[in-house]
Assembly symmetry: C2
Homo-oligomer: 300 residues x 2
């Protein structure tokens, strides 16, 4: 039974960082989020692939226990992203985006997904996010991400989706852009006032902040001195966060904090390898272990 | 009796931020550090002022219990800094620096300072930092800061001082520049290998990291949605850190962590007002209160 529905891009990525490069690697926000969440709960992924999508990649998702009934195969090629990182690797430079099959993506949920309690709308057009929400029968919690592109294109549409959601996971630059402020804390507090149960502001190598009515929680980043490829770190963070909530089915402030820590652990493993490579090598026990290390890291 | 000697600049600052401006305000790294530390221990400040230095400012330092015997008055004007902040206020733009009396500063320690157990060498010429070290009789712990200017001018001289110190407090960009790396964690670990007991990397609104042989500690920033003026935040952090160590006289990893938290609390109060204004309004109990809030902020 699908506990968590993840909707977003499925991609073939071409990535270059100071530590190496990969081509036609399995990627996309829905993939990173689903794979991260698959350590914790039963995930159903919704996305579109082209006829050129390697069967090995579908096999990998299935091996991770991810339901792929929501992956539709379109005529034409799979969405491709070409990006590279330099210096501190905090920001990707997009060299090329080929939308391909993704250009006409219209998410349609298999019936068994519609009953899921948890939904994560990764970064896609807010209109598509809205269409997914309308297909859900009685979700307990809907979370969303977004990005600069949609904020610049039509901020109101992003706010319309926020109004339908319980949790917003967003990176700090995007949060500040969305709220027209230079202060991350102010952005978080303003977003919370829009009626969200929780706002999660992702700060990459600086950790993440959780804003709820009960208070603010600061999650540290796991101290990595060997980031190989930050691609998908924010998406695997979201997947770890949602996977934890779906696994525990507890929306208390204390448990949202634990979800932040679990998310941090998964995202840190993700950044230690190219694409999803490193997530192939770890187990749930590794995530638990890193959560313990994170506790030590901030304990005083 | 002076427990902590603080050496560095004493300045008259002209600061403009999106939330206001001040002119000829009391400033300088030695002032911010001393005032912050004065909530915790007996501080003696070493610096130079000009004949134009307002007597009110000396009075204020004395009221805070700071020994000013190490402040020498030079002919000519006091060091002045003109700076402004925009946007996220993470970086100051220096509009003008007038070295004035500071140009010929040659720190000479009063005899009673030479017996102090704790020394903080704020950001000044590494040659001057070295001269201070040589004047100390039997210090228990020497900490230092530095800045881009000295790293660019002569990195080796900075390393020479590091070799004589126990603790380095440095901001993340400077740490990365000093170690020729883009990764803050790597910079911290490499600095630790140089023989320091502890490396503190300050990350402004993102908190601070402590590296010791026993492990890494991540201190959150206090979540402020109303930063008025970040000037001196790093220096008051250092003052709070050193003040705590001098007060407790305990160099264990656990106590270094508590010093980081105390430092964070003081620095956050500092950033809520222009110059040292807000530090005039708080008490030791306020700092304790904020330390408790910081515990809640990261507790899970």
């Amino acid at each position: 039974m699908v506990e968590l529905v993840v909707v977003g891009s499925v991609a073939l990525d071409n990535i270059k960082t100071p530590l190496g490069e990969v081509s036609e690697a399995l990627g996309g926000a829905a993939v990173y989020s689903s794979v991260a969440a698959s350590f914790l709960t039963d995930v159903g992924v919704v996305g579109v692939i082209g006829k050129d999508f390697p069967n090995d990649y579908v096999e990998f998702l299935l091996e991770r226990g991810i339901c792929t009934k929501g992956l539709c195969t379109s005529n034409g090629r799979t969405f491709r992203w070409h990006g590279h990182y330099e210096g501190d690797m905090n920001n990707a430079t997009t060299l090329k985006t080929e939308l391909n099959a993704f250009a006409t993506f219209d998410p349609e949920l298999p019936d068994e997904y519609k009953k899921a309690k948890y939904v994560f709308l990764a970064n896609i057009d807010p209109e598509l996010q809205m269409r997914v929400i309308k297909q859900m029968e009685n979700p307990k919690l809907i979370a969303m991400d977004t990005m600069n592109h949609w904020i610049e294109k039509d901020k109101q549409k992003v706010f319309d989706v926020i109004e339908m959601c319980d949790v917003l996971l967003i990176n700090s630059d995007e949060a500040k852009k969305l709220l027209d402020t230079h202060n991350t804390i102010k952005a978080g507090k303003l977003l919370l006032k829009m009626g969200l149960k929780a706002v999660v502001i992702k700060k990459g190598e600086h950790g993440a902040l959780l804003f709820t009515k009960e208070g603010v929680f600061s999650a540290p980043a796991f101290p990595l001195d060997d980031v190989k490829d930050p691609t998908g770190a924010g998406d695997s963070f979201a997947g770890g966060f949602m996977g934890w909530l779906a696994k525990t089915d507890d929306l208390s402030f204390d448990n949202l904090k634990r979800a932040m820590i679990c998310a941090t652990a998964v995202a840190s493993y993700n950044a230690e390898g190219f694409g999803v490579d490193n997530l192939k090598k770890i187990s749930y026990e590794d995530i638990e272990g890193r959560c313990e290390e994170l506790k030590e890291l901030v304990n005083f």
